[in-house]
């Protein structure tokens, strides 16, 4: 049994006076212990909402969450707020994009770590302090004992993110969700944080859900990758398979549109035409059809289903044939 089984997760936002909007539209995936699963997509694809729904962190009002999120067999969506609070921190840890706003600015770092230890592991304050220092040391914060008494603004961005990871790891959660953990950081710091996450997964066997828009980050870190578009998974595969042979036109298009550091210069990038604003609803079509170079008539009439084939899941009527170079597109 998988550690986490997400089945048909839907999140519909409904604010007074506006149309209901499905941010997440039937997403299913599994996470096994020690596995790193990537959720990749652009802004508005539903990747962050998925993670918030799993963590039970969506605002209580204005949205409807359906489907199931089974963590070791327990459906997290059915738990009460109180039970969920116990789970968070103990079983599930989360690291957010902006380390400064995720830390309480008026409480010293140390206290923010020990708080979790005291609450979930019933540690006395003194012991928790020692443990906190060890945690900070483990995530690579130099001089951890001194750092315990410092405030978030006294740390640099990279150090704050490390502190946040330390807090998320304090109770040795079995699942860590990292939502764009390196987007706010510089590349050299990003490399440090990614190396740290990789090491933690290897050493502790924690499962990791990595949410990012950066395909480069995914390529080096994730075992399995879910590509999201318009709130649905459009392609899922093992990372080598996905990058070697992207079959969904969206995945294919994304890879063709980003400049690669190691590619020969002078090659033109092949952008995906249009923008997310051009999407059509999934209800009776493929949302990506208006931007898709492979679109057929059927794509605008029938919703494609997510079909499994050869260890890959694909939601497409007319997938890219293996070995196809990036399609030439006239810029929109």
């Amino acid at each position: 049994m998988a550690l986490l089984e997400v089945r048909d997760l839907r999140v519909v936002f409904q604010r007074r006076g506006t149309e209901p909007f499905s941010a997440v539209d039937g997403v299913s995936f599994d996470v096994n212990p020690g596995q790193t699963v990537g959720l990749v997509g652009e802004s508005g694809c539903g990747k962050s909402v998925t993670s918030l729904a799993i963590m039970g962190l969506l605002p209580a009002r204005g949205n409807k969450v359906t489907g199931s999120v089974k963590f070791e067999g327990t459906d997290l969506l059915t738990l009460s707020n109180r039970e969920m609070r116990d789970r968070r921190g103990r079983d599930l840890g989360m690291v957010f994009q902006d380390p400064l706003s995720s830390l309480n600015p008026v409480i010293p770092i140390g206290l923010q770590v020990t708080e979790v230890l005291e609450r979930h592991r019933d540690m006395p304050r003194k012991k928790a302090m020692v443990e906190a220092a060890e945690l900070l040391d483990k995530v690579g914060i130099p001089d951890p004992t001194r750092r315990l008494s410092e405030y978030p603004h006294q740390l640099s961005g990279g150090m704050r993110q490390r502190a946040l990871i330390a807090i998320a790891l304090a109770c040795r959660p079995r699942l860590l969700i990292a939502d764009e953990p390196t987007t706010a950081l510089d590349v050299t710091i990003q490399a440090q944080i990614l190396a740290l996450l990789k090491e933690l997964v290897q050493d502790t066997g924690t499962a990791l859900i990595m949410i990012t828009h950066d395909l480069g980050v995914v390529a080096g870190l994730c075992d399995e990758v879910n590509v999201l578009y318009g709130g649905r998974v459009v392609e899922r595969a093992e990372r080598h398979q996905l990058f070697a042979e992207p079959r969904h036109p969206y995945t294919h298009g994304l890879l063709a549109s980003i400049p690669r550091l190691d590619a020969a210069r002078g090659e033109k990038l092949v952008p995906i035409k249009g923008s997310v604003a051009d999407n059509i609803p999934w209800d009776s079509a493929c949302a990506f059809a208006p931007r898709c170079p492979n679109a057929l008539d059927v794509c605008r009439q029938v919703t494609p289903a997510l079909e499994d084939e050869d260890r890959r899941s694909l939601r497409c009527h007319n997938p890219v044939l293996p070995g196809t170079p990036a399609a030439q597109e006239v810029p929109a």
């Binding site: 006076g17 149309e19 209901p20 499905s22 609803p281 209800d283 009776s284």
Partner: protein, 308 residues
């Protein structure tokens, strides 16, 4: 399926709008959908309408002392409602209801007058500080800080006291002066933020003249909070003017019908006929509420974050 239809409809709506909606048009459209704005708008427009037509619709002469009311008045009794006099007499034998109606006009003059003066002065100070920055900004802001640090009522009282004879103009000016630093600080802050915004930098980089940048980019984009503040100020200045009148710093002419003044005079008779204080107070509260609601919804509508 309904969602699909709705979405399609929305797309069509979007297309219809695509001729271009400016920020102001968009704000107006969203306000027209907000119940808070509608309630505020109704209250405020009724108030303004009343203020304009009040002199023509009063059932009785608000300034005349009616013998039929006076004959019933004693030191221990003020007549209540009676035929022809809906709310009865005030403490001096005049028609209370007519005076309440006319009071709307006076209160509007005080509120709008004080806010306008405060707004203009505040915008000149704040605009200059925001546009020039540097030492101009420093000195102007120190000046407004000093003004802010004096309790507004105290400031108003001192100004009213300085003018040897109380008058309505004194009250308006006194209230206006207390609102100046608020407007000045607000506009200055917004303009300084604009000064460093990318689109002002872009205009500078484009080689647009400084004056054009200030008046076409910085000022219009800074006005939102000021407009909102002025509706809120309108409400508070009516109350503040009322309290000045209540303290006897306004026009001493006993004929003048103004809610604050009426409230003030009513205190001597509050044990005999509490309505004399009650109705003007309610009127002030309702109008203040109307402006506040309008101001709040305006703030919401002008907030770019609320745009789709």
């Amino acid at each position: 399926m309904t969602t699909l239809l709705n979405r399609k409809k929305r797309r069509i709506d979007d297309l219809a709008e695509s001729a271009g909606t400016s920020l102001a048009a968009d704000a107006l459209k969203r306000m027209s959908r907000s119940p808070v704005a509608i309630i505020g708008g109704i209250i405020v427009s009724l108030f303004v309408l009343l203020a304009i037509v009040a002199p023509f619709i009063t059932p009785k002469d608000p300034y005349k002392r009616y013998p039929e009311l006076l004959e019933h008045s004693t030191a221990e009794f003020v007549p209540g409602p009676m035929p022809g006099f809906i709310l009865g007499s005030d403490e001096m034998g005049r028609d209370f209801f007519s005076r309440l109606l006319v009071g709307a006009q006076q209160s509007l003059i005080v509120g709008v007058g004080a806010t306008l003066i405060g707004l203009v002065l505040g915008m000149i100070i704040g605009g200059a500080a925001g546009a020039f920055g540097g030492w101009v900004d420093s000195w102007l802001m120190r000046f407004t800080d000093i003004m802010l640090s004096i309790p507004s009522l105290l400031l108003a009282i001192s100004i009213a006291a300085l003018a040897s004879r109380g008058s309505q103009t004194t009250v308006i000016i006194a209230v206006a002066v207390t609102t100046v630093p608020i407007f000045a600080r607000l506009l200055r802050g917004a303009m300084l933020a604009q000064r460093h915004s990318d689109h002002v930098l872009a205009a500078t980089a484009l080689g647009v003249k400084r004056r054009t940048i200030v008046f076409r980019h910085m000022l219009p984009n800074s006005l939102g909070p000021v407009i909102v503040q002025s509706t809120l100020t309108l409400a508070t200045s009516i109350i503040e003017a009322a309290s000045l009148s209540f303290l006897g710093l306004g026009d001493p002419n006993p004929d003048r019908a103004e809610w604050g003044l009426m409230l003030g005079i009513a205190q001597s008779r509050i044990d005999i006929k509490p309505e004399l204080a009650f109705y003007p107070a309610i009127a002030i509260i309702i109008v203040a509420l109307g402006f506040t609601l309008l101001g709040e919804s305006l703030r919401e509508a002008l907030d770019p974050k609320n745009r789709r």
